[in-house]
Every structure is written in C-alpha cells, then in structure tokens.
C-alpha cells in the first residue's frame, strides 16, 4: 500500500517537473514572472513529494516490509537500526533515489535563495535543474524503481552488502552525492547565463558559493570513501585509482579548476566563457561518473548492452552535451570580454591559468586512463587493464607542479609582474623549509625507503611541500603586516583569502602525506599462541583467536598485545567477521595510530580447530593521518571562504572603475 503510494508520488514528481520545465521555458520566453513562480512551485512540490516518498521508503525499511523488492534485496531482519537507515542507499535504486532527492532539495534551495540581481536568469535556472530532474525521475520510475513490489512477500531479506556495514559507508554516499548534485547549480547558472546572453550582477557571487559548497562536499566525500576503503577492505591503502574512485575525482578536479577560473573572472573579468564551460563540465562529469559506474560499461563493453540503464544514460548524457553545445555555440558570442583594458602578463592571473591547466590535464589523464580499456576493447578487441601504475606515472609530476604553482601564484599579484618581497620571502621560506623537511624525514622515517628513485622523489617532494607551505604563510604574514595586524579587519574583509590559504595548506599536507606513503613496510607472519614477533620497533604477542558476537556479526578476533621498546602500549584485535547473510569473511582491520604512522594489522587466516595459530599481515603506513587531517583543513578552508561577503560582489568593481 505504502509502496504504491511512494511510486505514485514519484510519478507525480515526474509530471510536476515536466510542467516545471515547460512553464519555466515559457516564462523565460514571455518574460512572465508569475509563470516562473509557478515553475518554482512545481519544483518545490516535487521536492516535498520526493522527501515524503523517501520517508515512506525509510518507514518500510524499519518495518521490514519485504513485499518491496529493494528492501528484500538490501536488508534483513538482523540488520542493526543504524544500518537499516543507511541501507536506503546501499544499492542502485536507492542511491539513484538519494541522488534525485538531493538534486531536488538543492534545486529548491537554489530557487528560493536567489539574489535579486539574478532575477532575469532564474527561469532558465529553474528549467535547467528541472530538465535534469525530470530525466532522473523518469529513470527512477522506468529502470530503477525503489518501490517495486515483490510477490509473495518473503519473511526475511537477503541482507545488506556486508562491506557497506561500516560507519564511513553510512556518511560517504550522501556527502559525495551532495557534492555531485550541488554542482548542478553552477551548471544551471551557466546555462542560464548563456541563454540570457549575459552574466548578471549577482551571478558570480551565487555561483561561487555553490561551487565552494560542492567542492567541500566532494573533498569530504572522496576522503571519507578513502577512509572506508582503508578500514574496511584490508589491503592497507585508501586509493587504488579504481574507476569508481576516478569518476569521483574528475568532477573534483573540474570543480577546483572552476574555482580558480571564478577568481580570475571576479578580479579581472577575463575567462568568462571558460568559467561557463567548466561549470557545465564539472556537473557533466559527475553525471558521467555515475553513468560509467552504473551502466556496467566499465567491466566490459559487452555487459553494457545487457543493462537497460546504460543506453538510457548514454542517450541522456549525449543529449545534454548536445543541447548545451548548441546553446553555447549560438549564445557564447554575447558573453562579452571585460570592458577595461586588462592585459595578460607574468602575474597572478597567469599563475591561476597554469593551475587550471595542470588540474584539467590531470582530469584528462584520469579520464583517458579510466575509459581506455573500453575504447581499446571496442576498437582493437583486446582487453587491457589500466590501473595504478599508469596513473602513478603521471600524477606525481602534476602534483609537484601544483605545489610549485601554489607557492608562486599566491605570492604574485594581479596585473603586475612585481612580487612584493618575493625573492626575500622565497629565500626565507627555503631556509625554513630545511628544518621542516628534516622533521618530516625523521618523523616519517623516510630514509628507509628502499628504491633510490622513490627516495629522491620523496625528499624533493617533501622539501617543495615545506617550502610552499612556508611561502604561503609568509604571504599571509605580509598581508597581516600591511593591515598592522588588525585581525578584526583582516577577518571581516579577507575570509576568502584566509579560506583559500587553509585549503591550499590542506592540499600541501595531503601531498606530503601521499609522498610519505611511498614507503610501505609489510610483513606476513604466522604465529602460534604465546609467540611474539618483532616488527619495526613494535613487539606483538599473539594470544588466541576468540569468537565474539557484535550486533549481527560474528567476529573471530586475533588478540595481539602490542609493546614498543619493551613497554606495553595496548592491545589490538584484528578480526574476520561473518555476517548471517553472507558466506564471505570480511576483514576487520586493527589500527594503532600515532601522528607519524599507522600500525595496520589484518588477520588473514587462522586455525579453525582450536584457534591457537593465526596468520597476520602487518603494515606500517607512514603519514596516513596527514591525509585525514588535510581533508579536514581543506573542508574548513572551503567553508570559511564560502562566508566571504565581498568576493564576487559587483559593487566593488564599480568602485574600482570609478577610480
């Protein structure tokens, strides 16, 4: 009953968004304000209805209503409450639904929180958002209906994917999808600006805020996904250049490039068209990522044809690209270059362009690497694999290029090749960087890297990161000095700068963390009860395998007493877990973290008879914590920058022009 109601609500959403698109387009053509308001109400109604439908689905999840196919597939009677909540997005239908729900909500927020300066383009924004939404609702109803009934109803479900029963997997998809769907707003604004034929007064301010919001969510989402892989999959890494990961990384790169393009547009009025293109492509690639991971095209070209969703996605993506390309082709000439004479030279704006170039190059490489197996199979018929070694050939160089570009770009100023105090700052930074690098090298135990090439890359990279950090901080110091350390003034006027400073420092910390990870030490050891093993300064004493019940899982824990230099520092319990709904044994990783490295232990095998013998895989993973800290710093930086009231405000341009 409730399931049918949910289905009809989604159907109503489809009808309502279709009406919304038509009315918004007509409102734009006829310049009919009340018709536009009606289209906005249509989206609001869709939002309310899809939220209600989602609540119904949740309600049925908690009532264990197995007459719904999706609930039967993704949950079971033994599932703990919290995972019953997150089972909602643990498979295709639900995650599509979540996508749609979030897009609906952010679209509604965007339409209601519009700036008066953008009034003229709002009908186009409404039409763009609802066009995408309409298609999502169509897909939801036709190919991935979460409310599909199952007859007869079963007494128990098949259970949630055991790998997803992890707190990080509970928050990772909504965060990432928030990023994906929030990117729809800048894209809608760019299409609207093109249709309208001009960039309106408040365009930059609004677009900038939404892009920053999406960027924060994407950054957090990607890192949360990495953290999940780190603690759940048990291979001691967090990033594998897997197609699914790549497809979340590409929109991030576009989004970051877009932010830098927006800065140039704000300051000089240049790169307007590039901004429009990037805003659209960022959203396009977040859709594209969903397509390549959902359609089955990644595993093989042949599985693509079997799924009805694949061709649907492809048609929509191609259609979206075509429509926007046509709009761009006709309307781009009306997006005019800046009025004032602002030439390009060796200055900050050029550094920003180079940054964008590096980011987009990395995006292109990741895209090529991800799609190459499909292309190769389609053209030559030969199946190939593109995995980490390919990406690792190129990515570090671009990363180091970015590190240098960040340092130089932040010290430069707009419209001048002079770098205030530049050479002095760089020299001081180099002097400061030496002890900083030394601290990183000693703390991270970098010198024990075996390969000379890797060691060299690590030393150079860490020095550059330290130098760049020092340069950025020096620049911040200079700016504070210019304000005579009036912090109140600084924080009231320079939140965008300060947020950017934090975000860049965060990226540098992350790159230092990636560099430290070049050296992974590992050992596989089989221990009998009471035996002790020495592992790079740690002594681990194996006791025995214990069987423990935790929620719905049975854990086989191998208790290890850890001591360092003879002094006991605690116990860790790597385990394998068995869930009632699956025959596989999952890893339960045991971690003992210090600031500099993680002791990462997995239980790979154990004696089933008496539990007195077990094989452990021991890893020392240096500087992993840097990456988690970095993500936090970056997100905080992005959020601070969001609250700057002056960036993107046209009124300031007017003042400058008057001078």
């Amino acid at each position: 009953m409730l399931a049918d109601l949910g289905f009809y609500l989604l159907l109503m959403c489809l009808i309502s968004t279709c009406y919304g698109v038509v009315s918004a387009v007509l409102a734009a053509v006829w310049r009919h304000r009340r018709l536009y308001r009606s289209s906005r109400l249509a989206l609001t109604a869709s939002c309310a209805m899809s939220v209600s439908a989602a609540i119904m689905l949740w309600y049925m999840f908690f009532n264990r209503d197995y007459s719904v196919a999706y609930i039967f597939k993704t949950s079971s009677n033994d599932l703990p409450q919290v995972y019953t909540l997150t089972a909602f997005w643990s498979s295709l239908e639900g995650s599509h639904f979540l996508w749609t729900l979030l897009l609906c909500s952010y679209g509604t927020i965007a339409l209601w929180t519009y700036s008066k300066d953008n009034e003229h383009i709002m009908p186009y924004v409404s039409a763009s958002i609802q066009a995408v939404l309409g298609w999502m609702f169509y897909l939801l109803l036709s190919h991935s209906d979460p409310f599909l009934r199952l007859f007869p109803a079963r007494p128990d479900g098949q259970g949630m994917n055991t790998l997803l029963q992890n707190p990080y997997m509970a928050i990772h998809p909504p965060t990432l999808f928030t990023g994906y769907t929030a990117l729809a707003i800048p894209a809608a604004y760019s299409v609207a600006a093109l249709c309208y034929g001009d960039i309106t007064e408040g365009w930059l301010k609004t677009t900038r805020r939404w892009t920053l919001y999406a960027w924060c969510a994407l950054t957090a989402g990607i890192i949360l996904g990495g953290h999940w892989a780190y603690v759940e999959l048990g291979w001691s890494g967090y990033w594998a250049w897997d197609p699914v990961e790549n497809s979340s990384f590409i929109p991030w790169l576009f989004c970051t490039a877009l932010l830098h393009s927006l800065v140039v547009q704000d300051k000089l009025g240049h790169l307007k068209r590039l901004t429009l293109i990037l805003a659209f492509l960022a959203f396009f690639f977040s859709f594209f990522g969903t397509f390549i991971t959902r359609s089955g095209v990644i595993s093989s070209v042949h599985s693509f044809a079997e799924s009805p969703i694949g061709p649907n996605y492809l048609a929509f993506l191609a259609g979206m690209l075509l429509v926007v390309a046509v709009i761009y082709g006709f309307r781009a000439p009306s997006i005019l270059p800046p009025e004032a004479d602002k030439a390009w030279g060796v200055s900050k704006e050029s550094a920003l362009v180079i940054t964008q170039f590096l980011l987009l190059t990395l995006a292109a490489i990741v895209c090529v690497g991800t799609l190459y197996p499909i292309v190769s199979e389609a053209i030559t018929g030969e199946r190939t694999t593109v995995q980490a070694p390919y990406f690792n050939t190129f990515a570090p160089w671009i990363g180091l290029g970015l590190v240098v570009a960040i340092a130089l770009g932040n010290m430069m100023r707009y419209q001048t090749s002079k770098m205030p105090g530049g050479p002095k700052l760089m020299a001081i930074a180099a002097a400061v960087a030496v002890p900083l690098t030394a601290a990183l090298v000693i703390g991270g135990d970098v010198m024990s890297t075996k390969k000379p090439f890797n060691l060299g890359a690590q030393l150079v990279g860490l020095f550059l990161c330290a130098w760049s950090t020092a340069c950025l901080t020096g620049d911040l110091w200079q700016r504070l000095q210019d304000l005579r350390f009036n912090l109140g003034l600084f924080f009231s006027r320079n939140l965008a700068y300060f947020g950017g400073y934090l975000a860049h420092i965060g990226l540098l910390i992350a790159i230092a963390g990636f560099l430290g990870n070049y050296r992974g030490l590992q050992k596989i050891a089989t221990l009998t009860s009471g035996e002790t093993i020495d592992f790079y300064g740690y002594q681990l004493r194996f006791d025995e395998i214990r069987e423990v019940q935790k929620d719905n899982a049975t854990l086989y824990q191998g208790a290890l007493d850890v001591s360092r230099a003879g002094a006991p520092i605690g116990a860790i319990k790597p385990a394998r877990s068995r869930y009632p709904t699956s025959s596989n044994l999952n890893h339960e990783v045991a971690l003992m973290s210090t600031f500099w490295h993680d002791l990462y232990v997995t239980l790979s095998d154990f004696d089933r008879e008496n539990g007195r013998k077990a094989t452990f895989e021991l890893h020392i993973n240096p500087t992993v914590r840097f990456v988690w800290i970095a993500a936090f710093v970056m997100v905080i930086g992005g959020l601070i920058a969001m609250f700057d009231r002056y960036r993107g405000n046209k009124s300031r341009d007017a003042i400058r022009a008057a001078i």
Binding site: D242, V244, E382, I524, H587
Partner: protein, 173 residues
C-alpha cells in the same frame, strides 16, 4: 508482469555486484573464502628475491578484484598467481620473462598498465601530448590576446590614442 520486472531487477543487481557500483567508491577487494587446509603463505619481502617478487606481483592485476594488484589481494586466484611468480623468481627468471609468461597465458589484460605497443601507445602518448602542447595552446588562446577589445568590439581608447600619437610623431618628422 511483476515477475518479469523482478527478473530484470535481479539482472541489474547481478551486474551491480559484478561492477561493484553499490556506492560511488566501492573497491570490492575480494575477501574470498579462506583456504581451509593450509594457513596463508608468508611471502618474502626482503632480499633480492623479495624485491623482485614485490615488483612483479605488484604489476600483475588481481583477476577478481577491481583496482588491486595480486600483491595486495588475498583472493584465491591471486594467491595462485603469487605462488607461480615466487617459483619463477626462485628459478632465476627476470622481471620481463615472468611478465611475458603471464601475458602469454592471460593476454595483456593481466598487466596493470597496458604495454606500450600498438594501439596502446595512444594511451601513453595522450598525457604527454597534453602536457607538451597544452602550454603553447594556452599561450595561443589566452595570453596572445593582449590587445583587448572593448564592449563594442573596438580596440580600447588607450590603444587608439597611442597609435594617433605615433602617427603624429611620424608626420612631424
């Protein structure tokens, strides 16, 4: 009708399971059923044998997982491949010979990055091309346009005044 739709749904699900597209960052490192009889072998990690073993095993893909090498995976298939790699390393074969052995058996698919031969050269050249041709392209499209037009598509007033001054000077001499 319900059942037809349901079978379609099941099909989609099996696809999802294969492609691990459950949520957007799912790397299904196959945990696999644990071998009942023998405890997992301790693979060498030190010495020349260990280093070569690491290098070779690190450049072969785990056939049943996404994104992982056989070195990082403890799926049964990966264990077997590692065993063969270890045997060949101990038999004194070098890196190329062992990789050749696996390419002959499984095709280039087993290598984690496509060997730069034939069509695959494209995959390797593309990034280099972008990196080499990109800066000139940026120069051509962005920086070259130093002469800025104003809104009416006319060169800016400053430029025109400068040119007029030049002409005046020419006329005076």
């Amino acid at each position: 009708m319900m059942t037809i739709q349901f079978s379609r749904i099941l099909k989609i699900f099996s696809l999802i399971l294969v492609n691990t597209a459950v949520a957007t960052t799912l790397i299904a490192g196959e945990s696999g059923p644990v071998d009942e009889d023998a405890l997992k072998k301790a693979w060498p990690s030190d010495g020349p044998v260990g280093e070569l073993f690491h290098e070779v095993a690190g450049s072969l893909r785990c056939p049943t997982c996404t994104g992982l090498s056989v070195l990082e995976s403890d799926a049964r298939f990966s264990q077997q491949i590692k065993q063969i790699v270890l045997e060949q390393v101990e038999a004194g074969k070098n890196r190329e010979e062992i990789l050749q052995h696996f390419t002959e058996r499984y095709g280039p698919w087993i290598l984690r990055s496509p060997p730069p031969r034939g069509f695959n050269v494209l995959a390797w050249l593309m990034p280099l091309t972008i990196l080499l041709l990109g800066p000139p392209a940026v120069w051509f499209f962005v920086w070259r346009k130093r002469r800025v037009m104003n809104t009416l598509g006319v060169r800016s007033a400053d430029d025109i005044i400068k040119e007029m001054h030049g002409r005046l000077k020419e006329m005076q001499t």
